[in-house]
Amino acid sequence: MVPTNYYVILSAVLFCLGVFAFIFKRNVITIFMSIELMLNAVNLAFVAFSQALGKLDGQVFVLFVIVVAAAEAAVGLGIIILIARNRQTLNVERVDLLKL
């Protein structure tokens, strides 16, 4: 039996790696992937607590998170295609129309 703390710590590590990727990466697709990584880390914590408490609510929440992530991926990738079509780049630093 694996202690719940181990899962929570792994979830925190993955979340922090996702945050760092979000800050550090410059390609808009990779930034989007780091958001997915953070969602996955939170899902792991949900399932771990669901198992620890012996209730299934956490696993149902994970299903909803996955549904929202799928919807987000569809719309977000549409936006990325628009950015690439209008700006001819995927680098977020070159998408600076609002900058003075």
Partner: protein, 167 residues
């Protein structure tokens, strides 16, 4: 050291290595493949916890549908190696500091509340797929129906965004 603990450490190491590889890889397609490794490792962890339905959904929806969409868009846009300007290189150290602060905060919270949550119950007896279906279609039926609207709006949004403008 028992067998579940060994399996846990192998899968956890796989997930962390995949996440680090996502950060280190320069090409987006390599980052996407690293993310697939993370997701498969997490599916294995769900199986280890006895959440077999979530594990299956993780493989099918995340590892299958969403990542195929990512790889498809990367190839459609012909995304190349990412470029770092001198300004973006400056974002590394402060970002690392912020992430370390966040990690410390999370670690402090986990350490403080560690004693309260212990893995006492064994979910092997808890029939998870049947239980989830009962919860989704009884307790969470309104949120479940709302997600269908969300998916519909997402389909419409993606279609409207990706179509070429008529002149």
């Amino acid at each position: 050291m028992t067998t579940p603990l060994i399996v846990f450490f192998v899968l956890a190491a796989l997930a962390v290595v995949g996440a680090v590889s996502l950060i280190l890889q320069k090409h987006p397609i390599h980052s996407a493949l690293s993310l697939i490794v993370v997701m498969v490792a997490l599916a294995g962890l769900y199986l280890l916890m006895g959440a077999e339905f979530v594990a299956a959904v993780q493989i099918i929806v995340y590892g299958g549908a969403i990542m195929v969409l990512f790889v498809f868009v990367i190839m459609l846009l012909n995304a190349g190696v990412e470029e770092h300007t001198s300004l973006s290189k400056m974002a590394g150290p402060p970002g690392l500091l912020l992430v370390l602060a966040l990690a410390g905060f999370v670690a402090a919270t986990v350490a403080r509340s560690g004693a309260s949550v212990q893995a006492t119950t064994q979910t092997g007896a808890l029939s998870s797929t049947k239980g989830i279906s009962e919860m989704v279609f009884k307790d969470f039926v309104y949120p479940f129906e709302l997600t269908s609207f969300l998916i519909l709006v997402a389909i419409l949004g993606a279609t409207v965004l990706a179509q070429r403008e008529k002149t």
